[in-house]
């Protein structure tokens, strides 16, 4: 019934508008078929000025209301730099936005035909053209230089710390597989062929490689504060993208094409919560949990490349801790080797006869 009433109201509204518009046209017919553009221009001039003001007020309100809600400050070393670059660019384009919009709408108001003036024949001015070519060119050169410098810094393999952690993340529909190299710091070899890849060994880990024996899977991404980490990324089935919004990290997972991303977290989860507890918006109570928002804050991992119907659900918690806590956590992890090979006859190197319960282990957290 409500749907019908809404529908009827909309139809009636349209009908009224059409009738009003038709009336305007009939009036024009009385004036020898000419629309009175002088009076229309006058009103539209005022409307455009009003819109200019509404637009600026709306923009200011957007900043006031929405800025505090945004993903908080960067928690990684390069993230601080890219945020700085973002803010610089934002200020520059903000200034250009304000001046050009004012010029556009003010001129449309000031020089509309209701003012009874004559138009000024002024087809070109080469000096002006040069000025407004050169100034943007200089500003852009600076932005390009800063951006390229930062970009090459982020992706420079020679600048990496030798003591970095290495973690492997593999995306598949609709889950993440996070593999840690264990105590030896080295990953067991993976072989992608029909011998090794099976429903119980989706990654194709070569269990004969001793380095694989202490590798373990985690359902949460544990990182250490101030310890650089190299994420080795790969996909099983379709494209995914490894997105850590708080660390300004994003890199696609491409089946058959390994990718990586190197970064350094700079704040533990607890430190970020502490920081946010001073922010007014984060002090407000979240109606869903009944707690202040900062208390339930957590770093998260998301998928940022459309990968199918549950693309939106690929969530994992990310936890950044101090080295000591990390070591404690590390000690508690069980390597996946023992359960994985338990059922395979020692002579049988292929892993394809394993039982389905291992799959459950590999996918824990789902």
């Amino acid at each position: 019934m409500i749907a019908f009433l809404t529908f009827a109201t909309v139809v009636l509204l349209f009908a009224v508008l059409v009738l009003i518009a038709r009336a305007g046209e009939l009036t024009a017919d009385l004036k020898n078929g000419k629309v009175d553009y002088t009076s229309q221009s006058k009103w539209n001039g005022y409307f455009l000025l009003a819109f200019l003001i509404i637009m600026f007020v709306g923009s200011a309100m957007s900043f006031k209301i929405l800025m505090p809600v945004m993903v908080p400050k960067a928690a990684s070393e390069h993230g601080v730099q890219t945020d700085f670059l973002f803010n610089i660019t934002m200020i520059i384009i903000g200034i250009v936005f304000v001046f050009t919009q004012i010029a556009l709408f003010w001129f449309a108001y000031r020089y509309n035909e209701s003012h009874g003036h004559e138009s000024y024949f002024y087809p070109h001015n080469n000096t002006l053209e040069v000025v407004w070519t050169v100034i943007p060119a200089i500003v852009l050169t600076v932005l390009i230089a800063m951006g390229m410098y930062e970009w090459m810094h982020i992706f420079n393999p020679d600048a990496r710390d030798k003591n970095m952690m290495v973690i492997e993340a593999t995306g598949k529909q609709f889950n993440w597989m996070l593999r840690y190299p264990g105590k030896d710091g080295k990953f067991g070899e993976r072989i992608i062929d029909k011998e090794h890849v099976s429903p119980t060994n989706e990654l194709g880990i070569n269990w004969e490689d001793a380095k694989s024996h202490d590798d373990f899977m985690s359902d949460k991404l544990y990182l250490v504060k101030n310890k650089p980490v190299l994420m080795k990324l790969g996909a099983q089935d379709v494209l995914h993208s490894f997105f850590l919004p708080h660390f300004r990290v994003k890199m696609d997972f491409v089946p058959g094409l390994p990718t990586e991303f190197y970064f350094q977290p700079t704040m533990t989860t607890v430190e970020m919560q502490e920081y946010l507890s001073h922010e007014p918006w984060w002090q407000t109570i979240n109606p869903e949990t009944g707690q202040p928002r900062w208390q339930t804050f957590k770093y998260e991992l998301a998928c940022a490349e459309l990968c199918g119907k549950s693309h939106w659900g690929m969530q994992r918690d990310v936890i950044v801790v101090e080295q000591k806590e990390y070591d404690e956590w590390l000690a508690k992890q069980t390597p996946m080797y023992a359960p994985a090979v338990a059922d395979i006859a020692p002579a049988d190197t292929s892993a394809k006869k394993e039982e389905p319960k291992k799959t459950a282990m590999l996918e824990k957290g789902k």
């Binding site: 046209e25 629309v35 070109h124 089935d237 199918g308």
Partner: protein
């Protein structure tokens, strides 16, 4: 030039003879299988409007889900059946909606509908030609477009639904013909490829024709630097299309090989549920290169015609020459060249070689320079003009405002280091909707309101047009301005409920959805106005009558389209095609409000160039 003139005269004689002997046209040759550029223009426009409504409606449906993720809408089940069981849009259908929304608006409305309409209408009228270089190819161009439309529309009604792997058609999700991986990657995506193939054929037939017509069929005296900016923009658009669409076609054909013949152009080491499939050696990134080799020029295919229309409308309605005519031409040329070497800025985080990322940052940000020149020139055109704030002028001003807002955020996104965070988030959605979606629509509306009298001999209703303008301007900003603040939120999410980080913006999503629904209904005002005015609109009254043909110049424009009679004749001019003596922007000069291009120079008068 001599040859062109001789040809034009020759052509004219032929058409004249033609009209005397077979004046009778059947319904079929006049309205359906028409080879007349004006009728083909109308066909493109009305098909485009149809697609505009469909594409907009799809966005309303997915905005319902995004704005109210926890609500159910029982009426949806009535209309959509299994796609919205219990009144909630299914995940599969949600992704089909966003995929088809993108496909339809980018290709079928803003490429086919925009270029198809205005290149067909304006090129022959404004260069002074009786029709396109090949009217038959032109007819085929529309019929391939309609064929593409039928195939795309049909794909909504099959068992597994339309394509749902994103309008970018990335493999492997679209490269594996397996509905278990993605429901829309079955028959739905085959139809998508078929539809796009037909569409590309249409775009190429049309584009070649537009280029040939502009280069070869100009009337006497119409040298290149006397062409209105609309024609420059439409010709450069066609050049971009002809050079880039084939890359997409090649990409799509290889993709279909992967799907149907199990080749491995884009697939390598795919593991589905622990089973290694037999694909070896392909690269999904290769498809992205091919796709964006069209995909990026495509955004200029969309925006250049709008820029051309707006330049013309602003000059005419401001009663003032476009500021920096040649700077405008060279900046479009610069955009054309640069548009081919920026495509990989869509791929900064795909594992591309970082050196490549740096180079593409450079070229991408360079494109801001010609764009800035154009913006300053438009503002310069309005400055000290005598602006008639009619509906087309309002939309042209709205276009400039939108283009500034959307263009500026491109400077942020084009910088690869910043793009790491922003890539595939709502910030990108906000950016490209403003700069190419809404802007191009504003340009298109400016064009439709401005040239409707030329198309139909009637005016569109001003009052409805202005209401439509304000709803669209305010509404579009309300939708897309606040969306920039969702910087960290990934796009193409069915719901943000799984994430603590993204769940804070629900109030904004609801606000945006309400604005989007209002704007959608606001567009229906345009549709009503359009069809109402075709039949009942105020007629264009003849100002002069020569040989029984009425002539008028409703906006007082200098360009050639109104030197033809109000009635749309086959062949456009009943007698000789007028020749051109001056540049197209003699407004408010020599004590005259405007001097048509066809008016000879006075003794002693120095031409503008």
């Amino acid at each position: 030039m001599e040859t062109a003139h001789a040809h034009a005269t020759d052509h004219h004689a032929h058409v004249h003879g033609h009209e005397e002997h077979h004046h009778e046209e059947t319904f079929l040759t006049k309205y359906v299988f028409s080879q007349d550029h004006k009728m083909i223009s109308k066909q493109f426009l009305i098909t485009g409007i149809f697609w505009g409504i469909v594409g907009g409606l799809l966005s309303v449906l997915f905005r319902l889900q995004l704005g109210w993720p926890n609500e159910t809408f029982p009426f949806l089940e009535t209309f959509l059946g299994k796609w919205a069981e219990g009144g909630k849009i299914s995940q599969e259908f949600y992704y089909a909606l966003v995929t088809m929304h993108g496909t339809i608006l980018v290709f079928f409305v803003l490429t086919g509908g925009l270029s198809g309409t205005f290149a067909n209408l304006l090129i022959p009228y404004q260069v002074g030609s009786r029709d396109m270089a090949s009217p038959f190819m032109n007819m085929l161009s529309y019929w391939f477009f309609l064929g593409a439309s039928v195939v795309m529309f049909f794909s909504f009604f099959i068992q597994t639904g339309p394509a749902s792997g994103g309008w970018t058609a990335y493999p492997p999700i679209n490269g594996l013909r397996d509905t278990a991986i993605n429901l829309g990657s079955g028959l739905g995506f085959d139809l998508w490829i078929l539809g796009m193939t037909l569409f590309i054929v249409s775009a190429l037939l049309g584009g070649l024709n537009y280029i040939a017509t502009v280069l070869n069929m100009r009337t006497k005296g119409m040298n290149m630097f006397r062409l209105p900016l609309t024609i420059w923009a439409l010709m450069f658009t066609a050049v971009i299309g002809v050079l880039s669409f084939p890359a997409l076609l090649a990409g799509c054909v290889l993709l279909e090989f992967d799907r149907l013949l199990d080749t491995s152009f884009y697939l390598n080491n795919i593991v589905i549920n622990g089973n290694l499939l037999g694909y070896k050696g392909g690269s999904p990134v290769l498809f992205q290169h091919l796709f964006w080799f069209l995909g990026h020029p495509e955004v200029y295919i969309i925006i250049l015609p709008a820029m051309g229309l707006v330049s013309e409308v602003l000059a005419t309605q401001s009663r003032k020459p476009i500021f920096g005519y040649k700077a405008m031409i060279f900046s479009i040329l610069a955009i054309l060249v640069l548009s081919f070497i920026v495509w990989a800025h869509h791929m900064f985080v795909t594992g591309l070689n970082p050196n490549l990322g740096a180079i593409f940052t450079l070229f991408t940000l360079l494109i801001a320079i010609p764009s800035a020149i154009k913006v300053f020139n438009w503002i310069g055109t309005v400055w000290k003009g005598k602006v008639r704030l009619s509906t087309p002028a309002l939309f042209a001003i709205g276009f400039v405002s939108m283009f500034i807002t959307g263009g500026l955020t491109g400077i942020i996104l084009g910088n690869s280091a910043i793009d790491i965070q922003l890539h595939d988030t709502m910030f990108v959605v906000a950016h490209f909707h403003i700069v190419m979606g809404v802007s191009a629509f504003f340009g298109m509306f400016a064009g439709v309101y401005h040239w409707f009298p030329r198309l139909y001999g009637k005016y569109m209703n001003e009052t409805l047009g202005q209401i439509h303008f304000y709803i669209t301007l305010v509404g579009a900003y309300a939708i897309f301005f606040p969306m920039h603040f969702m910087t960290g939120l990934p796009r193409r999410y069915y719901s943000y409920a799984n994430f603590e980080t993204f769940n804070n913006f629900n109030f904004l999503a609801e606000f945006i959805s309400i604005a989007a629904i209002i704007v959608f209904f606001g567009q229906l005002l345009f549709v009503i106005n359009f069809f109402y005015s075709i039949f009942k609109g105020r007629k264009v009254e003849a100002e002069t009558t020569v040989d029984g043909y009425g002539y008028a110049n409703p906006w007082g424009t200098t360009t050639m389209e109104w030197t033809a009679p109000i009635d749309r004749l086959h062949g456009n001019w009943p007698g000789d095609i007028p020749s051109v003596h001056r540049w197209p922007y003699d407004y408010s000069v020599n004590g005259r409000e405007f001097i048509p291009q066809t008016e000879p120079l006075k003794p002693g008068e120095v031409p503008h160039e």
